[in-house]
Amino acid sequence: MEVHESSEGESILDLSRLNLETLSFDHLSEEKKKETQMLFLPYNRLTVLPGCISLFSSLSWLDVSNNGLAFICDDILRLSNLKTFVAKNNRLDESSLPKDLSTMSLEVVNFSGNRFEEFPRQFLQLHTLQSISLGGNRLKGIPPEIENLTSLELLYLGGNNITSIPPELANLPKLSYLVLCDNRIQSIPPQLAQLHSLRSLSLHNNLLTYLPREIVSLVHLQELSLRGNPLVVRFVKDLTYDPPSLLELAGRTVKSRNIPYFAEDLPDNLLTYLDLASKCPNPKCGGVYFDSCVRHIKFVDFCGKYRLPLMHYLCSPECSSPCSSSSQSDADSEDESSVPVHRLQKVLLG
């Protein structure tokens, strides 16, 4: 991913594939160390990063991939000009990084192929970060604090153990490339449709059965990968419908009729409840729902894909979905009457 095309005048020191176990840099002049901008150390046998690395005061690019590194020493913090740090295929985990890593001004980090089980907390305070690669680790989740990284454009988290996506991810204003392939994700939060800067979304090899209908609002999306997900090809309407509770009916009436209420009128729990109302997407309905709703799936051609199952909630079985898109293969869920009896119990068919 970080392939550097060398330009004129850049001072590069390439020490890759030299079977180095230790490094002293004694043979290098002070001047050479001070002027080197890019240092390549991949495919050696380093188990620790030597402290003398801090002598490379002009360093902007450091690659220590494919060594046996289990720990990154604090000396690296002195490299105030370091922008790109690549350490793929080592033995790093969340305890390997300097505590004060966020004092650096790193823009690109690639720690793919390591042993991270948790997203490194130090990254969450590195506000200069534009590109994070943590592919092929053991991450179980994504922290919601990721939304603090407002400069983030690329986030590669493919090949981990992630089961869900925090909606806060949608608050990254510059995110253009999001990779979540080869994980265990069962659903995409509809808020992700707010990522208007997103140009490529990689979701292949997960556990998705449908996508949120809101995803069609990502009009600038150029690439979307979905192979290896158990996306449904047919959907029978929800026939088991729990009628709304009295609480829900009262809440719906208050909201849809705009009945005024004030903090003095109601206990806190009811005020909170009323704030949770969701608008029914049917433009002719204008109603709201709280807990009682019906899943509805439409099949839409989108972003090079054929008949993607897109899901949204409606406030009741009688409600109908909003205007369909103009795609040829667009089709609603099947009609009850055309469904054989033995399938009526199933809600979703794969």
Binding site: G113, S133, D182, S200, R227
Partner: protein
């Protein structure tokens, strides 16, 4: 039966010259071409100028037009990049790995009368310098770089050349015809050719 001696091409240019010779007649000896391509040992310095990557998807970079008999191109695959399931428009397709590895998954042609999911026939990992072959009578395939840490670069030869092919939706067997474009030609970026969101992957 005539046996042509295999002279190992030392450089990419040697390989291209040898391919021109192999394709100078009317018929193609698939085994000989495959052996020839496999025997070239990849040297990144020789193909670096065609190795142009895109952040979001794999790229197709034209190397040689084979006197109209074939197209030779280099494909650059970033981490996780993959293609649709596709056919080869009645042409021969040779695929050689120059760097990294690619997974090839084979599929049978879907049955037009029944709309059902396509099941994979077989899959394999193609390693550096290995050369695979496919044509429409063998079946369809999907090619992907499944690595999350390494890029991949492959050398493709298509004879006769083609610029349209069919892509297939794995869940339904539905097919679409797409036009294929080049990211670069002969080492120079060709931006106005590219179209977006064509792959079903």
């Amino acid at each position: 039966m005539e046996h042509t001696e295999l002279i190992k091409p030392e450089t990419l240019d040697d390989l291209i010259k040898a391919l021109h010779e192999k394709f100078s007649g009317d018929t193609v000896n698939v085994e000989e071409v495959q052996n020839l391509m496999e025997s070239y040992e990849s040297n990144p310095h020789e193909w670096m100028k065609y190795g142009k990557f895109d952040q979001f998807r794999y790229t197709r970079n034209l190397v040689d037009e084979g006197n109209g008999k074939f197209n030779l191109m280099i494909l650059c695959w970033g981490e996780g990049h993959g293609s649709s399931i596709h056919d080869h428009t009645d042409s021969h397709c040779f695929l050689k790995l120059l760097q990294g590895q690619l997974k090839e998954t084979l599929f049978d042609w879907p049955d037009n009368k029944v709309r059902q999911g396509m099941t994979k026939k077989s899959e394999r990992i193609l390693k550096e310098n290995q050369c695979a072959y496919i044509n429409d009578s063998i079946g369809l395939h999907r090619v992907e770089n499944v690595s999350h840490t390494e890029q991949a670069v492959s050398l493709h030869l298509y004879s006769p050349p083609f610029n349209h092919c069919n892509i297939f939706d794995q869940r339904t067997g539905h097919k679409n015809t797409v036009k294929m474009t080049f990211w670069s030609k002969f080492g120079t970026r060709t931006p106005f050719e590219s179209t977006v969101a064509q792959e079903n992957n």
